[in-house]
């Protein structure tokens, strides 16, 4: 298997415990490179925990995670291939957007000095680039978070609820950006509550329930009806 054929994500029997609570109960998942995958599920299904484990933010209690064939936590070279948009913005409130991006550019060894300003322009943040981030709205923060996450041109992008709390204009911008990244060959794994919105971006859907993968559409893109039916069968067990 060549390096480019190795799965972007490979999780085997991943369990994660927080004290008495088991948030992940044995997750197996293989994501080929270039895939766009949406993780759906109700609150507490394990989506965030799984994404945090895949990002290297949490250690699995048991099980293994490999990114591009290398086990986590991995070398700095491996971590450079991953971009993360988490619940936290990973942005420093006292620094401006330009300073935040310059800082992350240095941290990730981005040699192109124009890259931060290019991203600020493409995300419509040029006019507010020198304002402290603490003065930003939720939509501006989310745009800047995405700019930060793709600053170093990652091969794998992990996003936790990227559309939560965004207005339609910002959602559309985010959607266009994710489409463009996917078109450029970036592997995208994101979580969402919105089946319709998520399926506009994802070619593959996975539904989680109770810390397990309850349904996986496989390689073929599911229709909205299929996904909705699967969601109701797996997630609504009252």
């Amino acid at each position: 298997m060549t390096t480019s054929e190795l799965p972007a994500v490979s999780a085997a029997a991943v369990r994660r415990r927080f004290g008495p609570l088991e948030a992940l109960k044995g997750v197996d998942m293989v994501v080929p490179p270039g895939t766009s995958l949406a993780l759906f599920g109700s609150n507490g299904a394990g989506k965030t925990t799984l994404l945090r484990v895949l990002a290297g933010l949490l250690r699995p209690t048991t099980g293994t995670v490999e990114l591009f064939g290398a086990p986590l936590p991995g070398s700095p070279q491996l971590r450079r291939r991953v971009g993360v948009v988490a619940h936290e913005s990973f942005l420093y409130p006292d620094l401006s957007a330009a300073e935040n991006l310059r800082y992350y550019a240095r941290l990730y060894g981005v040699s192109d000095e124009n890259r931060p300003s290019e991203l600020l322009a493409s995300f419509g943040l040029e006019a507010v680039a020198l304002r402290p981030v603490r003065t930003y709205s939720r939509g501006m923060l989310q745009r800047l978070s995405l700019a930060r996450a793709i600053l170093h041109r990652p091969d794998l992008l992990l996003l936790d609820e990227p559309f939560a709390g965004l207005d339609p204009a910002v959602s559309a911008l985010l959607e266009r950006t994710l489409h463009a990244l996917h078109g450029a060959g970036v592997t995208i794994v994101f979580s969402s509550h919105d089946l319709e919105g998520g399926l506009r971006i994802a070619q593959r859907a996975v539904i989680m329930y109770g810390g397990r993968i309850a349904w996986d559409s496989g390689a073929a893109r599911p229709s909205l009806e299929e996904a909705r039916d699967a969601y109701e069968r797996t997630s609504v067990r009252i």
Binding site: A55, L57, R59, E88, Y92, P93, D94, R106, L107, G109
Partner: protein, 219 residues
């Protein structure tokens, strides 16, 4: 590593939170000693090294964790953990930042200390600078390492002194003894076992911090 140091110092330059609170606390401790103990000038000079290090330790224990606790409060600690850098270098970067902040604090506190204690520091400043640096490095190393552990707890700011202060006792004893000797005119080579303890403590906690940070950093 340089990026983290630059970002932290820029943030501190904007807010001046840490250095200001360190200075105010340090001066308050010195003032409390002066008035609570009602010391004669001779007693003040005798107790001066202990007063100075008590002020530094108390102030630093309350403020040193800010560089890591603020990362967690801003939700940015995760970004450091997943950044493509050696995790030990995160510790070194934070240690450098804390060392710079504590050094600035001490440079501002020392003239106040000299005036209040009637101690001449100008004649002995090179030796005093070495002892102060060694003591501060140890405090910064312990504080930086355990600030990360404390940052993950609910009682962050109170937890750090509880963990760090007991470990810092040998360092403080050595620093007080070395400072006393230096203020009395002793050369660095004459400091003996206390200086050895001071430097050994520094080496131990810088090494432990650099090696252990990887395991403390990821939840």
């Amino acid at each position: 590593m340089g990026a983290i140091v630059w970002k932290d110092l820029l943030s501190e330059l904007r807010s001046r939170d840490t250095v200001m609170s360190l200075f105010v606390l340090g001066v308050l401790v010195l003032v409390i000693f002066q008035f609570a103990l009602n010391l004669t000038p001779t007693e003040t000079r005798r107790l001066a090294p202990g007063m100075l290090w008590t002020a530094i330790v108390i102030s630093s224990s309350l403020a040193i964790g800010r560089t890591l606790i603020s990362e967690r409060e801003a939700g940015c600690l995760g970004a450091l953990v997943i950044a493509p850098i050696d995790r030990g270098s995160i510790f070194i970067a934070k240690l450098v930042v804390n060392l710079v902040l504590l050094s600035v604090f001490e440079i501002t506190l020392l003239p106040v200390f000299a005036l209040m204690s009637d101690v001449s520091i100008l004649a002995v400043w090179p030796q005093l600078a070495v002892v102060m640096f060694a003591g501060t490095l140890g405090l910064a190393a312990v504080g930086t390492l355990f600030a990360l552990a404390a940052a993950g707890t609910r009682a962050r700011e109170t937890m750090l002194p509880l963990i760090a202060l007991p470990l810092e006792i040998p360092l403080v004893l050595a620093a007080v003894q070395c400072t006393e000797a230096v203020l009395a005119g002793a050369s660095l080579t004459a400091l003996g076992a206390w200086a050895n303890l001071l430097f050994a403590f520094d080496a131990l906690f810088v090494a432990v911090g650099w090696l252990a940070f990887e395991f403390v950093a990821v939840e």
